[in-house]
C-alpha cells in the first residue's frame, strides 16, 4: 500500500529500516537472551538524529510530528520490540515536557534529549495505581523552595538507564486526581534510587525498574505546569504516545508476518511448499489484511494528531487497541504457520509473540482503551441531543 508519504517521511522510514536491519536484527536474539540494555543501538539512534525526530527545531530537533515518530517506531519494532520500547518510552517521558514544560525547562532539557545524550523515563504507575491513575500514593510536599518526594514507582521503562524522569506525584491527596502534579527529577538527586530490575516475559532488551523516592528534594521550578495539573499532563501524554504503541503493534506484526511468509515458501510437506496450501494461504491473507488495516488506522490517527486536533483521546485509544490486539493475533498465527520451528528460539517469531503481549497491557490496558472509547461515545451522544 502507498500511504503517500512525503520524501522526508520515506527518508526517515528508510534510515530507521537500515538501522533495524544492520544494527538491531543481528543482536536481538542475544539482547533477549541476556536481558541486556541496548546501549550501542541507542548510540546509533542518537548519531542518526532519531531522538530529535519529534522535538522542535529550536531545541535541536527535527520538528516532525506523530506520524514521523510512528514510522520510525514501526520500523524499529519490526526488528525488535525490546529496542523499540526503549526508544518509544523515551518519547513518552519527553511528552510532558514538550506539551506542558516552561520555556526554561525546554531549553534546559530538550537539546540533550534531541541529541540522544540523555534518555528519559515516565513515572506514573505504582503498586496500587495502574489503570486507576488516581490512586497514586507518591507525594510531593512543598517546603520552602523545594518539593520533597516520597513513594515508589513501579515497572518504569528505562528506569535506572534514563537521566531524566518525568514523575506524577500527589501534591494534595484530598483532591484525588485533581491533587496530582508532574515533576522533573534528575538521576543522581539525593533520595532518588532504583529498585530491582524486573524479569519479564518479553521486551527483555528494555529495562524495567522501580523508582524509589525517600525525602528526595527537587527545586520548586521542577514542577511541570502548575500544581494540580498532573493528571491532565499524564492523560495528554498518553493520548499522544498511544499511537506510537499502535505503531509498535504494526511493526512487530509485520516482522512476524515476513518471517512466516519466508518460512512457508521454503518448508515442504506432502511434496509442496506449505504456502501452496489454502490452509496456510488463508492464514497469511488474514494476517496481511489485519496488518494493513491497523497501519492505515495508525497513520490516519497520527496525521489527525499532527493536524492539531484537540480531542484525540478516542482516536488514539482506537489506534492502540486495534493495532495491538492485531499484533497479538498475528504473532500467534506466525508461530502457528511455522509450527514446531516457530516455537523454537532458533527462529525469531516466538520472541515476537512473547514481546507482543506487553502491547495489550502497557500505556493503558486494552480494556482501559475500550473505557476511553466508550466514555467518548457517551459524550458525543450527549452532545447530539
Amino acid at each position: 500500500m502507498d500511504y503517500f508519504l512525503t520524501e522526508e517521511q520515506v527518508m526517515i522510514r528508510d534510515l530507521a529500516r537500515q538501522i533495524a536491519e544492520e544494527k538491531i536484527v543481528p543482536q536481538r536474539e542475544e539482547l533477549d537472551e541476556k536481558e541486556e540494555f541496548p546501549w550501542d543501538i541507542m548510540k546509533v539512534l542518537a548519531q542518526s538524529d532519531m531522538f530529535g525526530l519529534f522535538i522542535p527545531e529550536e531545541y535541536g530537533g527535527l520538528g516532525k510530528g506523530c506520524l514521523e515518530l510512528a514510522i520510525a517506531v514501526e520500523e524499529l519494532s519490526r526488528a525488535c520490540l525490546g529496542v523499540s520500547t526503549t526508544y518509544a518510552a523515551n518519547a513518552l517521558g519527553t511528552y510532558p515536557l514538550l506539551l506542558y514544560g516552561s520555556e526554561e525547562q525546554k531549553k534546559k532539557y530538550l537539546p540533550d534529549i534531541a541529541a540522544g545524550k540523555k534518555l528519559v523515563a515516565f513515572g506514573l504507575t505504582e503498586a496500587n495505581a495502574g489503570s486507576d491513575a488516581a490512586g497514586i500514593q507518591t507525594t510531593a510536599k512543598l517546603e520552602g523552595n523545594e518539593y520533597v518526594l516520597n513513594g515508589t514507582k513501579q515497572w518504569i521503562t528505562n528506569g535506572g538507564e534514563a537521566e531524566i524522569y518525568t514523575i506524577i506525584a500527589m501534591t494534595d491527596k484530598s483532591k484525588g486526581a485533581r491533587g496530582a502534579s508532574a515533576f522533573i527529577v534528575e538521576k543522581g538527586t539525593p533520595g532518588f534510587s532504583f529498585g530491582k530490575k524486573e524479569k519479564k516475559m518479553g521486551i527483555r532488551a528494555s529495562t524495567t525498574r522501580e523508582l524509589i523516592f525517600e525525602n528526595c528534594r527537587i527545586p520548586k521550578e521542577n514542577i511541570i505546569g502548575r500544581e494540580g495539573m498532573g493528571f491532565i499532563v499524564a492523560m495528554k501524554t498518553l493520548d499522544n504516545s498511544r499511537v506510537g504503541v499502535g505503531a509498535q503493534g504494526v511493526g512487530v506484526a509485520q516482522g512476524a508476518f515476513d518471517e512466516a511468509v519466508k518460512f512457508a515458501r521454503q518448508r515442504v510437506q506432502f511434496g509442496h511448499p506449505i504456502i501452496s496450501f489454502q490452509a496456510i494461504q488463508h492464514m497469511l491473507a488474514d494476517m496481511a489484511t489485519q496488518i494493513e488495516a491497523a497501519r492505515a488506522l495508525v497513520y490516519s490517527v497520527a496525521r489527525y494528531i499532527d493536524s492539531g486536533a484537540k480531542d484525540i483521546s478516542k482516536a488514539s485509544a482506537m489506534a492502540k487497541l486495534f493495532a495491538t490486539d492485531m499484533a497479538m493475533k498475528v504473532t500467534v498465527d506466525a508461530v502457528q504457520v511455522m509450527g514446531g520451528s516457530g516455537y523454537m528460539r532458533e527462529y525469531p517469531v516466538e520472541k515476537m509473540m512473547r514481546d507482543a503481549k506487553i502491547l495489550q497491557i502497557y500505556e493503558g490496558t486494552n480494556q482501559i482503551q475500550r473505557n476511553v472509547i466508550g466514555q467518548a461515545l457517551i459524550k458525543e451522544a450527549a452532545k447530539k441531543k
Binding site: M11, L15, S48
Partner: protein, 260 residues
C-alpha cells in the same frame, strides 16, 4: 584541519554478475555504492573534523551519476563535494586518475588527504600513493589507527603482514586506510536532509588546469587487451573417508602421478 577524501563509486560487489560470453561485468541494473574502503576514509575524516574542527571535502571522478555517491558522503558528515566530470576524463587508468585528482587537490590545499586502500572493482591500490607522488607529499598506506594529530605532524599505525609499524609524518600527508581503522557510521537524518539540498560542484579538466594530454585515455599508458573470467579447473577429485583413509588415498594418487 582541512581534509580531502577521495572516493569512488563502484558497483555493489554482492550484486555483480559477469557476462559469460564477453567476460565483462554486467553493470545494468546493478546498484552503485561508495567503495567500501572509502567509507572508512570518510569516517576517519569526519572523526578528525569532529575532534579538531575544520572541513571535509569529498572528491570523486566519474560520470554525472557519481553525484549520488557524493550526496551519500554528505549524509555521513562530509561538508562539501566536488564531482570531476568531463568527457576528456573517460578511459583514465590509475596514472591519469591520480593526475586528475592531484590537480584538484592542489586547488584545495588540504592538511590531510584520505583514500580507501583500494577500490573493490579495480583492486589496484595504486591511486592513493600515486596522488601523493604527484603532489610531492609523504604518504602512509594501509593505516589501521590514527594515534595522534599535531599542528604539523601525524602519527599512525600502518598494517603489515605481521603486526604493524608506527609511522610519523609531517603534514600535509596522504593516508590510505584499511577497514580495521573504524566502523563507518550510518547516515543521520540531518545529514540526509543536507545531502538532498547540497550543491555539488562540477569541475572539468579546464577548471583544474589539467593538461589535456595527461587525462583520460590519452594520459593512460595502461591498455586493457582483454577481460576474461578464468576457466574453472575441472580435473579435481574430492577424497572422502576418515583422515587416515584420505591420507592413504592421497599418497597413492601422488605416487600414481609420479609426484612422489
Amino acid at each position: 584541519m582541512n581534509i580531502v577524501v577521495c572516493i569512488k563509486q563502484v558497483p555493489d560487489a554482492a550484486e555483480v554478475k559477469i557476462n559469460p560470453e564477453t567476460g565483462t561485468l554486467i553493470r545494468e541494473g546493478v546498484p552503485s555504492i561508495i567503495n567500501p574502503y572509502d567509507m572508512h576514509a570518510i569516517e576517519a575524516a569526519v572523526q578528525i573534523k569532529e575532534k579538531t574542527s575544520g572541513k571535509v571535502t569529498a572528491i570523486t571522478m566519474g560520470p554525472p551519476q557519481a553525484e549520488t555517491a557524493l550526496r551519500d558522503a554528505i549524509s555521513l558528515g562530509v561538508d562539501e563535494a566536488i564531482l570531476l566530470t568531463d568527457k576528456a576524463f573517460a578511459g583514465s587508468d590509475t596514472l591519469a586518475t591520480s593526475y586528475t585528482l592531484s590537480k584538484t587537490i592542489e586547488k584545495l590545499s588540504p592538511d590531510i588527504i584520505i583514500c580507501g586502500k583500494q577500490a573493490i572493482d579495480g583492486d589496484t591500490a595504486q591511486v592513493g600513493p600515486e596522488v601523493a607522488e604527484f603532489l610531492n607529499i609523504p604518504h602512509v598506506a594501509y593505516v589501521r589507527k590514527i594515534e595522534d594529530i599535531g599542528e604539523k605532524s601525524i602519527r599512525v599505525q600502518r598494517l603489515m603482514e605481521e603486526g604493524y609499524d608506527v609511522v610519523e609524518s609531517t603534514l600535509p600527508v596522504l593516508l590510505t586506510v584499511v577497514k580495521e581503522l573504524n566502523e563507518p557510521r550510518l547516515p543521520s537524518l540531518k545529514g540526509k536532509m543536507a545531502a538532498k539540498k547540497a550543491e555539488i560542484k562540477k569541475w572539468t579538466a579546464a577548471d583544474i588546469g589539467a593538461d589535456e594530454k595527461d587525462v583520460g585515455l590519452k594520459g593512460s599508458p595502461t591498455q586493457v587487451k582483454n577481460i576474461f573470467a578464468p576457466e574453472p579447473k575441472k580435473d579435481r577429485q574430492m577424497l572422502e573417508g576418515t583422515p587416515e583413509e584420505q591420507t592413504d588415498a592421497l599418497i597413492k594418487k601422488l605416487m600414481e602421478l609420479k609426484c612422489l
